[in-house]
């Protein structure tokens, strides 16, 4: 059961400065929740680089290879149909479907990959219990600090307030 301390800031600049401030004070388990992507927050939170490009590549190559195999097997092996003496294993004629299948499987994998990487769908996250958290998709810039014990909670509370948070609330997954 996790506990978070959520602080709301008014602008993206305040959020960035507060995140830097919290880091300087030794808080590392943080997340920012904002209505639009804030430039530079990834570096402050030191998020790992996304592995989605690799996923897209693998899925794309897999889709292309699969499509070529299906076409080769159906046209040249399982049901060889002679059309005016044209080659049965006619690679160039297979290219359009190979390309389309590569795009289809890469895009599908990326879509699912984004959802998995974001931990979605999850419509009942504990943050949503906090009524004011609605502003996170409108005009509020929130910082969530994961706290383990009461001392950590008090320290994070003080730090968030000192850095200019407009409001600070505790969200406890255990108390839902």
């Amino acid at each position: 059961m996790s506990r978070w301390l959520l602080g709301e800031f008014r602008t993206s600049q305040q959020l960035l400065e507060a995140a830097r401030g919290l880091r300087a004070r030794g808080f590392t388990r943080m997340d920012a929740l904002t209505p639009f992507p804030v430039e530079g927050i990834d570096e402050v939170l030191s998020l790992p680089p996304s592995r989605l490009p690799l996923l897209g590549l693998v899925a794309g190559v897999g889709g292309a290879g699969g499509a070529y195999l299906v076409q080769w097997f159906t046209q040249a092996v399982d049901w060889p149909l002679d059309v005016g003496g044209r080659p049965l294993h006619s690679g160039p004629a297979f290219i359009p479907i190979v390309f389309e299948s590569a795009v289809l499987s890469a895009a599908g994998a990326l879509f699912l990959g984004v959802l998995v990487a974001c931990g979605l769908p999850r419509v009942t996250h504990p943050f949503f219990d906090l009524e004011d958290f609605r502003s996170a998709s409108i005009d509020g810039f929130w910082l969530a600090v994961t706290v383990v014990d009461d001392a950590g909670r008090d320290a994070a509370d003080a730090a968030l307030r000192a850095l200019g948070a407009a409001q600070v609330s505790l969200v406890d997954e255990a108390r839902r």
Partner: protein, 477 residues
């Protein structure tokens, strides 16, 4: 907020940044103004248009029933014109769809900021256009319930689809395009669905949007993965647009019919698709901008740049026309020369010259800046281009088929009421889909507009700091 007076902020120099956002707003105001059409009750105009479109959809259903119960013989096409409205409408609709992907994907890759205000509507247009397009080949099969014969599945017949034929390429291309554009559109929608969820007052609306938004929280981890995935999908969608319409043009170019068998077709089709799609974007965008009062995010700078794109695409299309006729003559093949000359002088010549007027002459208006930013002129021109591009596909499909190698088998073509009902019916279906979209989903990407404003503000702040530093005693050079 609602009375933002649009001025004429178009800059003289194209390199100077144009006004992409009229005025500055709080993030809450942006959200409220862009969600107003979704949260408020619909006006009488919306209901009237829904009525008209629903009537057309009823007509579509009637025409489909006639086609299914009586047969494709109720259509006007027969030998030698075996392809007519079915393919014309298919190519027209799928081409319209392509500009949506162009605006959202290609411009995202190029980092064009102006895309943010128009991409959502353009993408929605793509979806409905592709759905309309898909109907025609399906119905043209004659037995649409056997469409799955085109999919390679291990059947007891021990037969497989013929993958050396462009028609099997078509079904893969269309299904891929429909799927990828839906995923791309939905992924772009996620953050805005969360905004709608959090702005709505009624519980059922919050629940509905909450489910659709999949629980988006706007976490930094969400944004990071979302942006990576979105950008990569844009990178995939961009070549997809080109490939899909290339494959559509292969349906023609791979055949050996004079007037079709030409290598100019793939690029010429892609240019035509983007051209017609831009026209359709304007046809929808300009009234929506006015009625939904989106002047602050869809500024005259957006109209200006769309008109320029229309002009450029129109020039590509004109080049295609010239090349087609030049090669017909230069190749010296009598059948090819005949196919080209009946375009200009034959029974379908009025259609050909209308195409020339609408697609080549009308876009030339947009060399003038004043006309580029006049919504009325743009809308009129866009309608003419829509008509011109439909007729272009008509002359491409019908004219070479009706007079091919053997004069004894020449026969001209006329559509039946079923053909015309199917065409107008899909216009109604497309319109109905777009109207429902405008009512149910945020028509302009809210998070992107907020981000755009944030970027504009920070660059202004940076400029102010530089100036202040330069003016300070001892500071600056």
């Amino acid at each position: 907020m609602s009375d933002v007076a649009p001025k004429a902020p178009v800059t003289e120099d194209p390199l100077v940044e144009a006004t992409l956002l009229e005025g500055r707003y709080s993030n809450d105001q942006i959200g409220q103004s862009l969600l107003r059409p979704v949260l408020g009750p619909p006006g009488w105009g919306w209901w009237a248009l829904v009525g008209v479109c629903s009537a057309l959809v009823v007509l579509l259903v009637v025409a489909i029933c006639v086609t299914l119960f009586v047969g494709v013989g109720t259509w006007g096409n027969n030998i030698p014109v075996a392809w007519a409205f079915g393919i014309i409408n298919f190519v027209w609709w799928i081409g319209i769809g392509h500009a949506g992907t162009l605006i959202s994907a290609i411009l995202l890759l190029f980092g064009e900021k102006w895309r943010s205000s128009v991409n959502r509507m353009a993408e929605a247009m793509t979806l409905f256009a592709v759905a309309c397009a898909g109907l025609f080949p399906l119905l043209h099969l004659g037995r649409p319930w056997k469409f799955y014969y085109l999919v390679p599945y291990p059947s007891s017949l021990r037969m497989w689809p013929q993958f050396r034929s462009p028609l099997t390429w078509d079904i893969v291309a269309i299904l891929t395009y429909l799927t990828v554009s839906t995923l791309f559109w939905y992924m772009g929608l996620l953050p805005d669905l969360a905004t709608a969820r959090d702005t709505a007052k009624e519980t059922w609306k919050r629940r509905a949007w909450g489910l659709l938004s999949l629980g988006w929280r706007g976490s930094a981890r969400h944004w990071r993965n979302w942006r990576t995935g979105y950008l990569l999908m844009a990178g995939l969608a961009t070549p997809l647009v080109v490939s899909v319409h290339t494959i559509v043009s292969f349906d023609f170019a791979v055949a050996q019919l004079p007037g079709w068998h030409t290598t100019i077709f793939p690029p010429y089709f892609v240019a035509g698709a983007i051209f017609s799609g831009l026209a359709m974007v304007m046809t929808l965008l300009l009234p929506a901008r006015r009625v939904l009062r989106l002047h602050h995010v869809i500024t005259e700078a957006h109209l200006d740049v769309l008109a320029r794109l229309l002009l450029v695409a129109g020039l590509f299309v004109a080049y295609g026309y010239i090349q087609e006729h030049f090669f017909g003559w230069y190749g010296g093949d009598p059948y090819e020369m005949h196919a080209m000359s009946i375009l200009r002088t034959g029974p379908y010549a009025p259609a050909f010259w209308t195409v020339f007027t609408c697609n080549v002459l009308v876009p030339q208006l947009f060399w003038s800046r004043r006309l580029r930013t006049s919504p009325a002129v743009l809308w009129g021109a866009a309608l003419l281009v829509n008509v011109g591009m439909w007729l272009e596909r008509f002359v491409i499909v019908v004219s070479p088929l009706s007079e091919d190698f053997l004069p004894s088998s020449w026969r001209h073509y006329a559509p039946t009421w079923v053909d015309l009902s199917l065409l107008s019916g899909t216009v109604g279906l497309f319109g109905l889909g777009f109207l429902l979209f405008l009512k149910l989903l945020p028509p302009v990407p809210i998070s992107e507009v907020k981000q755009l404003q944030d970027e504009l503000e920070s660059s202004e702040r940076f400029a102010r700091e530089v100036v202040a530093e330069a003016r300070a005693p001892g500071g600056g050079a």
